[in-house]
Each structure stands twice: as C-alpha cells, then as structure tokens.
Symmetry: C2
Subunit: 299 residues, 2 copies
Amino acid sequence: MRAGSYTTKSNEPIHYNQIPTRSEGMPIEDRLINLIESVWPEDYDVKSIAAACPGPLDPLNGIVVEPPNIPEWRYFPLQEFLHSTFDLPSAINNDANLAAYGEWSFGAGQGYSNLIYLTISTGIGGGIIIDNKLLTGNAGFAGEVGHMSVIPQGPTCSCGKEGHLEAIASGPSIVRWVKSRLEDDDLLDHFPEGELTAKHISDAAETGHELAIAAYERAGKYIGLSIADLLHIFNTSLIIIGGGVSMAGDLLFDPIRKSVSESVISDVYLDELQILPAALGDDSGLMGALVLSREIAAS
Amino acid sequence: MRAGSYTTKSNEPIHYNQIPTRSEGMPIEDRLINLIESVWPEDYDVKSIAAACPGPLDPLNGIVVEPPNIPEWRYFPLQEFLHSTFDLPSAINNDANLAAYGEWSFGAGQGYSNLIYLTISTGIGGGIIIDNKLLTGNAGFAGEVGHMSVIPQGPTCSCGKEGHLEAIASGPSIVRWVKSRLEDDDLLDHFPEGELTAKHISDAAETGHELAIAAYERAGKYIGLSIADLLHIFNTSLIIIGGGVSMAGDLLFDPIRKSVSESVISDVYLDELQILPAALGDDSGLMGALVLSREIAAS
C-alpha cells in the first residue's frame, strides 16, 4: 500500500511512501497507521484523509465490505477507523472508482465530462464518470465492469459466478489460459521457473511466442466485446484502460481496438472514440483519493 | 403510429389518434402529417412538437439514422421536417429513451432519480435515467441495452452481430427458438394456424405447454443476466420492463427475478431493488415525447 500527503493546491506530494500490504506479525490496521504517520506533513495542518481500497466497498457508510486480499477487513468500518484514529474528516471509496476519478482529474481523462475507466490487473474493476460526476449508484456499488457476463458457463470468476470478463481477461485468467495450453517443453523453453505471471507471458509474446500472443489476443477480444457493450449503453467517447496487465501496451490494446470496431452495432459509436492507456500508472487510485480528500476538506 | 395533443399542464390528451404505420400508396411523411393534423387542437396555440422514433437515431441533430422498419427514412432529418412543415420548435429522440423518460415522469419510475428501462418487443431497447437526466452519451446513442453481448457466437441479431440479448429474448427471438424445437403434432395441437407470435406462445404457456414455458424461462434467464450486468455497472434500485413481450407478466418476470438474484455478485445489488412492469403500456414513448415537447416549449 502507498500513501502521499499533499497541499490543497499542488499534486506533487509533500511526502510519499509505499510498503508491502502484508507483513507477518503486525495487524494491517497498525501498518496502515504507521504508513500514514510516515507521510504526515509536520509543517502543515492536516485537513482530511481519504483512502482507496479494494471493493466491494460501501462508500456511503465508509465500510470495506469484502476485500478479496484482506479477509480480516470483512465489513470493516475503515472510514470511522481513520476518523477516530486521526480525529479528521475521512472518506473511503473503492480503488477502481477512485482511479477513474484520478484519471479524470489529473490523467488521461482531463477535460472530458464522460468517461469509462477499466483496470485490468489481478482483477478487473472500473469507474464511470457521467456529467463530471462519479457514477456511484444507489449505495456506491456501481462500476463493477469486471463482472459483466461474457461467456455463459465460462471460467469461474473470483466472485464465484461463471464467465465474467474478469475470469477471462484478468492477469491470473490470462495465466490460467496459457497454462492450460502449455506443453512441458514450451514452458521450459520460453518461461522462467517458478510462478508464471501475465508479465512473463507478455515478455514471451514480445519475442514472438505464439501461444503468448494468442493469450493477449483472446483477452483483448473479450475486453473489446465488453467495451462495445459499454459503448452501446453509455455512448462515451473516452475509454481509459489501466492496471498492470495494460502495461503490455499494443499487445493488448491492438486486439482491444480491433474487437471494439468489430463489435459495435454502428460506426456512430466509433465517432470521436478514444481508447487510451491510463496516464497516472499505479498512482491513479491515490490521485483519486486526493480529489476525494480535497472534497471532504472543502465541505 | 400514434399521436396526442396536450396542454402544458394536463397529461390527459386533448385529442388522440392512432393509425397503422404503413399503408399502400401514401408516403409515410404524408401519413405522419395527416396524423398530426388529426390531433391538432384548434382552440389552442401549439407551442412545440416532439416525436419518439425507432433508433438508432441522432437526437442532437434530429436525424433518424436507420429505423429497421422504415427503410426510406435512413438518415431522414425528421426534426427539420417537422419544424419546416409546422413552423414550430421540434425535437425527436429514440422511442426507448423517451419511453424511459415517460415512465420516469408519469409512470413506474416517478420519484426515482435513477432507473433503467428495458422494452422487450420486436426488438429490445432501453433508456437510462441518471441523476434525474436521460443518459444520452456523446451523440445520443446511449441506452442500447438490447445489443449487450450475451452468448458469443449466438443467434444473429437484427443488427447483424451475434449473440446479443435482442437475438435471444425479443418476441421474434422467442418465436424462433420455439419453432426450432416444435414437433409437427405439437404445432397443430397447441398453436393456431398462421404466423406464430410471442403472444401465442405465452397463451400456450398459460395452458401448461412445457416448451412455451421453457421459452419464456430461457428469455427471462438471459434478460436477468443482462440486468445483473447493468446492476453491477449502475447499482440502480429500479428496473422497469415494458414492451409487448413483457405483457406475459409473471411468466416472464418470475424467471427474470430468479436470474437476477442468481447472477449478481453480492446481495448488496438486491437491497431495495425493484423490478417493475412499465405503467404506461404502449403510451410510454408518447408520454416521454410529451415531456420532451414541454422542455423545448419552455426553453
């Protein structure tokens, strides 16, 4: 996890720090407090604290509902924890929603009133900006584009359902697909020993490994199909794609763009359409939390 | 096609008329003019005219793009045609979008700030209200929920692509699925002679015809799957379903509700969720056009 402290005006952090989320022997709450204290700006009055966390997450009540990688935070009232610990106005939202907010405010989405952000990573998440506002829905659970159904009775998703986009095109899903097709020789020749990752596969694709290329083409095809669905629903002119898997660049973006073009029902959906990589990299969520913290400081 | 004239205050029409869209020997423009003149309120100053038309349709420029059942209106500037014919402020939008608007203003969606409307008919369309505004998107082509991909390489859709919700759960798609499974005897025993319709199938289902029941269960299952996708994206608490096929009532709504419950990734999406039939019947589009006409009269 990472943290930064910022003034109300500048987007350059006063202090910035990053630590592994997990460590033996220390509760995650204590690690979080230590991290925040490590970036505390002694020369300033701190006005507010905001945090981007894995969803699903209830932003209206400030509760982390069921973060896949932090099981001890099931229904954890993180906003109240921050508020009571630091005695400051606090807010939380899910990381993909805040990444959309960050990209819209400071990244690839600046100047747009409407956009859809997707993050392709260990999971697939998203955030949607409509009329210069984050789409939250009835209780803050909007934007879960990774759980759009893509192949009925397809691979099992992290959520337990079948055939979701995340189960087909996330990093671990790309790895799973490649592993299911790898011959032993192939594995020895082209991939390092140890745990295979989406990055190993994109590296192999860059050297012309056909199965690795096919894996990204397949992921891109289904991501493009879901983006076409989203265009039919929203008719936005900007799609931003971030997350670790998107670092594969054209290897992923080319098949996405091809699939989108082939999947829309009319070229009107391609007019003015841009499909851009996220501009803020791993910091989009942090920058979205910055926007959120300024909002609560000002309110 | 149907038309009504209304005062600025009452939603009861002064005059109302309905005629078949097509007739031999008279251009559709002339039939439209005759229809409008037939409801013209002689005792009032008419302020504006609005029309709901099949999409895809460009509401910003007032152009009917490609109405499936009126081929001679490809790229027809209907708004300008109305404006120049009647010398009044005019506007058009697609019928599913305006039906959503109508249901939100006067029907099942009154009092809600966010809702998703689906019409299940010869096609499947939709309209989405976010923060008390119709979601139009970049150029007015939003809300095409019938063209969400449901089964890759599935049945061919009216748009030419494969496996869209419309290709699986619209009236003609339900008929196609039943026909492909009917035995000759079965056809003779349970269905009338002549062209089979979704209504014949729902009537047969009411008498216990297993294939007919299965047809609506299948349609409802996939509609529910797409609604779950929409809930993950929007987290709305109201889904309104209209259109001729929805008149089958519980036969369709029961499997839809079951599928939605089974398909959402968390019960948070079911909190406060209502899935309701449209309240305005065949007039939802007309009532949405009324709202639109009042908007342009007031602007």
